[in-house]
């Protein structure tokens, strides 16, 4: 097709313009249709196609893992002298072909073909309430994720962890982006959330060596899961209060140091309290963190965080960050603002920690150490400060990247930091920084003629 030809043009700017023109009249709904088509196509013919192309199984993450596996084989041969099967190199073009057939082609064709339909549907949805329209979009998005994740267990877990990463990144962005402080205690809040929600679920409903026999048992116990999550979140918020009181008299480096100290204290606290399993942690969490539950929590978290940062109350954080004395002089209660934001961020980190505990179904203190901190900070700074969209982009790209680069083993920890350094040089505030998320504008129909006016 002519369209696919333009997308493979070697000129980056030309490609950008061509792609932009190609999709200029496609509303969000159209893209969702496109992705749904991709996913359905992969469900229908993915296995056969992979067989046909000589791939051992269906590529899990868009073929990126397959490509990097081949590259990693080559690198291992060069550095370690390991045996190398040149046949695997064929997998690279094959994975690309697979990606083009299953993802690229359907998305271009379907979005183009349905753009008129999608626009009139989006028009119709605009007539209804914003809530309904948003729910329809979310429903479609969930369907895509459900089918995509349903094809493979590994995919499902990557998807769940990515969704949780989005929530953590969003919440950390409140502090490090919107408030402009450098807080290092986020994994600590996640740990509190994870342990407290596990205490709730494992302690009450599961026979466990550490937390004792089940105190309650009834068949609808999983309905209490939101309660467990909220409990974890609230405990994390209380933890945040403890750190906020001494640290908000200081700014900048000092808060970073105090929050780092808090992280270590929390970690060693959980390591040393034998009643919570000590260094071995707690395991056997019930399998309640299913995809719909995680999706719903992340959507609600996104909604609340976006509401907060778009309100005058939330924007007061920007005022405090950019010029605190002026904020005070303009009647803003800076202490209350900072404290509320810090606790709010910790609450969602705690919720995310609770989800994580029930996805992994085991937790131990070492999961919430410096490495986790580096990961979350990377997501925030890569995606973009002061932007909810940036947080999503950062969380998704770093999560997928670190899964995709897994075959490179230790080299992964050279590639990802290198990428971060490049982003810091060329876009110091991250890929999509300082952008407001306007749900109305995103959902509205797109027509080129109306855009030109």
């Amino acid at each position: 097709m002519a369209q696919t030809k333009t997308t493979s043009s070697p000129l980056p700017r030309g490609v950008k313009n061509a792609v932009g023109r190609l999709f200029a009249s496609v509303p969000l709904l159209g893209f969702l249709f496109g992705f749904l088509a991709c996913v359905l196509m992969e469900m229908a013919v993915g296995d056969q196609l992979a067989n046909l192309l000589g791939l051992s199984k269906m590529p899990v993450l868009f073929g990126i893992v397959t490509i990097f596996k081949a590259i990693a084989g080559l690198i291992n041969t060069l550095f370690k002298g390991a045996a190398f099967d040149p046949g695997t190199l064929v997998h690279i073009p094959m994975a690309l072909i697979y990606f083009s057939i299953v993802y690229l082609a359907p998305i271009t064709i379907v979005t183009r073909l349905t753009s008129r339909l999608a626009n009139s549907l989006a028009d119709a949805l605009q007539q209804t309430s914003l809530l309904f329209s948003a729910l329809v979009h979310l429903g479609l998005l969930y369907a895509i994720l459900h089918f995509w994740g349903g094809m493979n267990d590994y995919r499902l877990i990557v998807l769940k962890l990515t969704l949780i990463a989005i929530l953590v990144t969003l919440s950390l962005n409140i502090i490090n982006g919107y408030m402009g402080e450098f807080s290092c205690s986020h994994p600590g809040f996640m740990a509190i959330g994870a342990y407290m929600s596990s205490m709730f679920t494992v302690g009450l409903f599961v026979d466990d060596k550490v937390l004792g026999a089940a105190k309650l048992s009834f068949s609808l116990a999983y309905l209490s899961f939101p309660l467990a999550l909220v409990f974890g979140g609230l405990m994390a918020a209380i933890g945040a209060l403890i750190i906020a009181i001494p640290s908000f008299k200081t700014r900048g480096d000092y808060l970073a140091i105090i929050s780092l100290a808090f992280l270590f204290i929390i970690k060693s606290l959980f390591e040393n309290v034998q009643a919570l399993g000590g260094a071995r942690g707690i395991s056997g969490q019930p399998n309640w963190a299913t995809l719909p539950v995680i999706f719903a929590v992340v959507v609600i978290g996104f909604w609340a965080i976006n509401n907060f940062v778009n309100s005058t109350m939330g924007k007061a954080l920007n005022a405090v960050r950019d010029e605190e004395s002026a904020a005070e002089a303009m009647t803003i209660n800076t202490r209350k603002t900072k404290m509320a934001a810090f606790m709010f961020a910790a609450f969602w980190a705690g919720m995310a920690g609770g989800l994580l505990a029930h996805v992994m179904r085991y937790i131990n203190p070492s999961m919430f150490g410096i490495q986790k901190l580096a990961e979350v900070l990377a997501m925030v700074y890569f995606g973009g400060l002061n932007s909810v969209v940036g947080s999503i982009v950062g969380a998704v790209s770093i999560s997928l990247l670190s899964e995709a680069l897994r075959p490179l083993e230790i080299l992964k920890w050279i590639v990802i930091p290198l990428l971060l350094i490049l982003v810091m040089i060329y876009r110091p505030t991250g890929l999509i920084a300082f952008r407001e998320f306007n749900i109305r504008r995103i959902l509205q129909p797109r027509r080129p003629e109306s855009k030109e006016v």
């Binding site: 907060f308 005058t312 005070e328 002089a329 303009m330």
Partner: protein, 257 residues
């Protein structure tokens, strides 16, 4: 009782006497000037009254209520608006957001509304936006509402800062050198704006200013501050002819000549 009453205010910065026995009484609707050479302590007086520093000695009261020991945001919401000499605007915010932000203390929807986008919040945000646009058009910068302040020319930034200070609905407005770095045309415009807001809101204004012509024209009463002490207090004519003031500004030779 005056609107703003300051009695015997003295302030030390660890041994250095910055302000000594400062007295002030501003009536509603009065425009008063504070002049003095660099380092005389003019901005310190602003910072003392607005609560950034707490005076070592003395009393400050607004409408008879003491302001000593209150947080700056409390003092501001009681009705003291201010601008800064060095334009402390928030560089990542638009013009409209600046003015809306200053209405913080008038919002009642609280954190609950902020998190869950309640009907009350939407109503208040719309009202606030409406009011902010009125102020912006009063100061002639409403066409810039969606611009980031860092992209604006200096004169427009000054106006935004003034609109922001007015958004807290002050009873008295503190202007810290409102004409710094302005061209003569901008000077004329800002003078008209100050007169306009003074009449429209029946606002008391207390300003620090270096351009004597500007102060002489606007103010009914002027104080001259040198090394933290008021050396002259009176109407523009008195101040202009006061030998001590001339000495402070131009040196001893100018007086004798």
């Amino acid at each position: 009782m005056a609107l703003l009453q300051v009695d015997h205010m003295t302030h030390f910065f660890s041994g250095l006497r910055a302000v000594h026995d400062f007295n002030l009484a501003i009536e509603p609707g009065e425009i008063r000037g504070l002049i003095g050479p660099n380092g005389a302590g003019k901005t310190t007086i602003f910072n003392l009254i607005t609560g950034i520093y707490t005076p070592t000695e003395g009393k400050i009261s607004l409408n008879g209520e003491s302001l000593i020991g209150l947080y700056p945001h409390k003092i501001a919401s009681r009705g003291i608006g201010r601008t800064f000499q060095d334009l402390r605007l928030w560089r990542h915010m638009t013009v409209l957001e600046h003015v809306k932000m200053a209405r913080y203390s008038q919002l009642t929807y609280g954190l609950w509304g902020a998190f869950f986008d309640t009907a009350l919040r939407r109503k208040e945000e719309v009202e606030s936006e409406h009011r902010a646009m009125e102020l912006l058009s009063l100061l002639g910068v409403d066409h810039l509402a969606d611009q980031l302040v860092v992209n604006l020319p200096y004169g427009a930034q000054r106006r935004v800062e003034m609109a922001r200070a007015l958004a807290i609905e002050p009873k008295i407005l503190f202007l810290d050198e409102p004409t710094v770095g302005m061209t003569p045309e901008e000077l004329v415009q800002i003078m008209a704006i100050i007169r306009n807001i003074h009449q429209k809101f029946d606002l008391a204004i207390f300003m620090i200013e270096h351009r004597l012509k500007f102060v002489m024209e606007l103010c009914e009463q002027i104080q001259c501050l040198v090394f933290g002490e008021v050396i002259a207090d009176g109407n523009p004519d008195d101040i202009q002819n006061n030998p001590q003031v001339i000495e402070a500004y131009l040196g001893k030779d100018a007086v004798e000549a």
